[in-house]
């Protein structure tokens, strides 16, 4: 009798287990892991690779008559710009004032040139890259956290050397570097 009860018990457990398993199979779900790797990239483009200030006399100051459009054409990230220059042979850039064979080149982001209050402290370029801020290289625009596809207009102000022996065209390279941020 005890043996029969034991067998019935075992069968009952097996039956119930099968029922539970069948029920579990009926409700079974599968999970598929979809993995996506986002690859943002940093990139900028400029509307023109050169800008001409024309002929100037020694000691003169001139603002570019047009602006260079700088575009964040990277993917998926804001960009903050840094600016620097490379001196042409025979001239040295100053961040205070022009002098003999010393010039100053200022740059500012602004929709219009009248939106810029030019100042050596905030706008003068040097050979060392300087990051844009809300005041550095800023006019009515700035080069901070420029959104994807957004554009900025870059204006230049040139202060000629007060005297120079160089009477041929000089080319000053301005480097605009974009970094995430």
């Amino acid at each position: 009798m005890r043996k029969q009860r034991f067998i019935v018990g075992i069968l009952g457990v097996v039956f119930l287990s099968g029922f539970v398993l069948l029920s579990a199979q009926a409700a079974q779900t599968e999970t598929i892991a979809v993995k996506v790797t986002v690859s943002p990239s940093i990139s900028i483009s400029v509307s023109s690779s050169s800008i001409s200030l024309g002929l100037l006399s020694a000691g003169a100051t001139k603002v570019s008559t047009s602006a260079i459009t700088v575009t964040n054409n990277g993917t998926g990230v804001n960009e903050t710009y840094s600016l620097s220059l490379t001196n042409p042979t025979g001239w040295t850039a100053s961040q205070t004032a022009a002098g003999a064979e010393i010039y100053a080149l200022c740059a500012a982001f602004s929709n219009v040139d009248t939106g810029i209050v030019w100042g050596m402290t905030n706008h003068a370029l040097s050979t060392i890259p300087v990051a844009c801020s809300t005041t550095k290289f800023a006019g009515d625009q700035n080069g901070v956290a420029v959104a994807y596809n957004a554009t900025r207009k870059l204006w230049f102000q040139f202060k000629a050397p007060t005297s120079t022996v160089v009477n041929t065209e000089q080319n000053i390279s301005v480097v605009i570097t974009a970094q995430a941020g």
Binding site: V38, S39, P40, S41, I42, S43, I44, S45, V46, S48, S49, S50, I51, S52, L53, G54, L55, L56, S57, A58, K62, S64, I68, V70, G74, V77, L105, L154, F156, F158, A160, P161, T164, V166, N167, T168, E169, Q170, N171, I172, S173, V174, V175, I176, T177, A178, Q179, A180
Partner: protein, 146 residues
């Protein structure tokens, strides 16, 4: 004994918790991070500084002689060549060729031009200007005897 076991359990639990925290930070640091390279563009600013032009020589030379009917070419040499320089030529202070980029003026003389003449040559650019004067003499051609 109870106190010892209690301390042992607490220490073990603390180790497990700390181990979990360390493991969490390790896993977080193992997540690959995308390091974005900077991008740059170059804009070249072109500029030319010009000095005031200086006349170094004048044609015709001071004291030159010509005959009536001769064509006199008036010109000058400037210290450096530049397309930005303009010239103006005058005879007796009457402007014969106003400011232009033409660097010479041709004067066709006639009998009425016989005599001494003062030629003035002026050059300029955005930085300044220079002036030189020269005197020439135009002779009447002798009339052949009839």
């Amino acid at each position: 004994m109870k106190v010892f076991m209690s301390c042992f359990r607490a220490t073990t639990r603390l180790r497990v918790i700390l181990g979990g925290v360390v493991l969490f930070f390790c896993l977080v640091n193992l997540v690959p991070r995308v390091v974005l390279a900077a991008s740059s563009a170059i804009v070249t600013v072109n500029v030319t500084i010009v000095s005031p032009p200086k006349i170094t020589a004048v044609t015709p030379a001071d004291g030159s002689f010509f005959d009536e009917g001769d064509t006199i070419t008036i010109s000058c040499t400037v210290n450096y060549a530049s397309s930005s320089i303009e010239y103006q030529f005058s005879i007796e202070d009457n402007i014969k060729q106003p400011w232009s980029i033409n660097s010479s003026y041709k004067w066709v003389t006639a009998s009425r031009d016989a005599g001494l003449h003062k030629l003035k040559i002026e050059v300029r650019n955005i930085a300044g200007q220079d002036t030189k004067e020269t005197e020439i003499y135009v002779y009447l051609k002798p009339v052949p005897p009839t």
